[in-house]
């Protein structure tokens, strides 16, 4: 710590450059992680809010709710377990707003999704042609009491309440009853969602049970999008490792005569290695901490249209990952410190 801090203090420009690099790379990792989470939430936040474990879909629908139409015979086999779901993608608007994409989901009032539905303002829907909508629609100008016009349809749904941001397949969700949905789209049962293990081990002829994780991964474009982000983030981790490695390697090469002299004086290699690791740790902690602050500011400043979701747990995990990569990056210079021969360095 003694040598580490003094060297950083003395070589301010050099270490500021390394800190700046770590800052920007970490910032990029945080923002990409935030975007990945934000986009992921846009796809699945409604599903997550159901707290469900499995979903029954048509065997031929390849896990896609909109392509699934459950056979009545299979529906009967579950004996009232779970809650049926009907989905309709639509363009919606009120009298003041422009058209916006939405996912209309019909649920039963006796089902667990309805019962667990969080209402941030207003109340849950009870009557026909009423709906609870995602708060995202608030940002589009929708408010309680508004009537939602559905494109290519004469039915209007009245907003009676808002639920915290709930989206499905990148569109805000509108929850309504099967009775109302029947007027829009005849309300076919696209799927049945379960929050408990299905009893009776029913054998379905035309349907297949998916875990919610598997269902989410089959959302159109979801996996490709998430893999792209993971790839970019993975690469950034490697870049942190390489950047730290290169910088510390160059710095160590420049300092080899000093290390040689210190070794000649009897200062142990272990002390010098600990010094380098401490230095790397300090530099990485400063860089990552500044990146955290910058990320929080960015999340506040960015317009709400940018789907960025910053959560503390993820930021801390990412920071830990960057710190580990930084310390791994110090391994190459450490090898140089171990190898340095004091005799050669003092000009023998």
């Amino acid at each position: 710590m003694f040598l580490a801090l003094r060297e950083i203090k003395f070589e301010k420009i050099r270490y500021s450059l390394i800190i700046t690099l770590i800052l920007f790379i970490s910032y990029l990792v945080f923002v990409l992680n935030g975007l990945a989470t934000g986009l992921s939430d846009l796809n699945k936040s409604a599903i997550t809010q159901w707290h469900a474990s499995t979903i029954l879909l048509d065997k031929d629908a390849e896990g896609r709710l909109s392509q699934s139409f459950l056979e009545r015979s299979d529906q009967q086999k579950i004996n009232g377990q779970g809650t049926p779901l009907s989905q309709y993608s639509a363009l919606v608007k009120n009298n003041q707003t422009g058209k916006t994409n939405a996912q209309i989901l019909a649920i039963e009032a006796k089902g667990f999704i309805y019962k667990n539905l969080k209402i941030s303002s207003g109340m849950n829907f009870k009557k026909d042609n009423t709906a609870v909508v995602s708060e995202q629609l608030k940002e589009n100008g929708f408010k309680i009491g508004d009537k939602i016009n559905i494109a290519n349809n004469d039915i209007q749904l009245q907003i009676v309440g808002f639920t915290p941001k709930a989206s499905f397949n990148v569109a805000p969700v509108i929850y309504t009853s099967f009775k109302s949905m029947a007027k829009i789209n005849q309300a076919p049962v696209n799927g049945i969602v379960f929050n408990k293990t299905l009893k009776g081990n029913p054998q379905f002829k035309h349907s297949k049970l998916y875990t919610i994780t598997s269902f989410i991964s089959k959302l159109p474009g979801y996996q490709a999008q998430q893999l792209t982000f993971k790839f970019m983030i993975g690469f950034l981790y490697i870049i942190v490792f390489i950047v730290i490695s290169i910088f510390l390697y160059i710095l160590t090469i420049q300092k080899l005569p000093n290390f040689g002299v210190m070794k000649a004086q009897g200062i142990s290699t272990r002390y010098l290695i600990l010094n380098t690791l401490t230095q790397t740790f300090i530099v990485a902690v400063i860089g990552v901490s500044l990146a955290m602050m910058l990320t929080v500011i960015t999340a506040y400043v960015l317009p709400s249209e940018v789907p960025i979701a910053i959560n503390i747990k993820q930021v801390l995990t990412t920071s830990f990952g960057i710190l580990i990569m930084s310390l791994l990056g110090a391994l190459l210079p450490i090898r140089q410190i171990i190898k340095v021969d004091p005799f050669e360095m003092i000009g023998g």
Binding site: F2, M262, A264, Q265, G266, I346, G348
Partner: protein, 238 residues
């Protein structure tokens, strides 16, 4: 009992046609309360002698003992600990840590040796070397002579049993050289130290208890530096 002993020590560099014998069957011993001067022309093997004496490199043949312990039998870590606790180096190129102030150079010694030297003793070393006002300065703010004196002070500060100095007065004027040698002499005799100084500077011989010369890897003691020997030695200082 000898503090430092060389028994039939040889050191070869290179192989085959490029083989070079830097030290040739050297027998040498140094005891406490001694200031020993080792002189010789460039490339004669003085620095090789010094680095082998400090355990920085091993002889090709022969044994080197410090306090009766054969250095070659010690592990790298043990050699490092031995250097830390027993040997002090004063090197020609000062070798101060560039990012530590003068005060911090000493603090580093405290940190690694876990020692606490009295402020009084510390100040007396600084005063004798005329560097008591340089505490807050970095090496790049010091003159060559000041750096050399700080390097000497750092070696003395660690309070080693013996000090190996390579041209310690190279950057100092005559007056300061005499002061430094007088300080080394005083240390050797009053503090029970063994000090070996490798130098070209024959002005230092007055303070030395023994003078050795190395020529072509062979070492011999120069007994009574008479006119002819001095003439011979003077050659090196030119």
């Amino acid at each position: 009992m000898s503090r430092l002993e060389f028994e039939n020590v040889s050191k070869k560099y290179g192989k085959g046609m490029s083989e070079f014998l830097a030290l040739d069957h050297i027998n040498f011993s140094a005891e406490s309360d001694q200031l020993i001067l080792v002189v010789g022309p460039s490339g004669s093997g003085k620095t090789t002698f010094l680095t082998i004496a400090g355990g920085l490199q091993s002889p090709t043949t022969g044994t080197v003992k410090i306090n009766s312990e054969i250095i070659g039998n010690l592990s790298k870590n043990q050699q490092s600990t031995l250097r830390l606790n027993t040997v002090g180096f004063i090197l020609q190129s000062y070798n101060l840590v560039p990012y530590l102030t003068v005060d911090e150079q000493f603090l580093l010694v405290d940190k690694v040796k876990r020692q606490h030297i009295s402020q009084e003793k510390f100040l007396s070393i600084l005063k004798k070397l005329g560097i008591e006002n340089l505490g807050k300065k970095y090496p790049n703010e010091l003159s060559g002579g000041q750096k050399q004196r700080v390097a000497i002070a750092r070696a003395l500060y660690a309070d080693p049993e013996y000090i190996l100095a390579d041209e310690p007065t190279a950057s100092l004027d005559t007056h300061r050289s005499k002061e430094v040698m007088s300080l080394l002499h005083e240390l050797a005799h009053q503090n029970n130290k063994t000090i070996i100084v490798v130098t070209h500077d024959l002005r230092l011989q007055d303070q030395a208890d023994k003078v050795y010369q190395i020529i072509d890897g062979k070492m011999s003691e120069v007994l009574n530096i008479d006119k002819s020997a001095k003439k011979n030695l003077d050659f090196y200082s030119k």
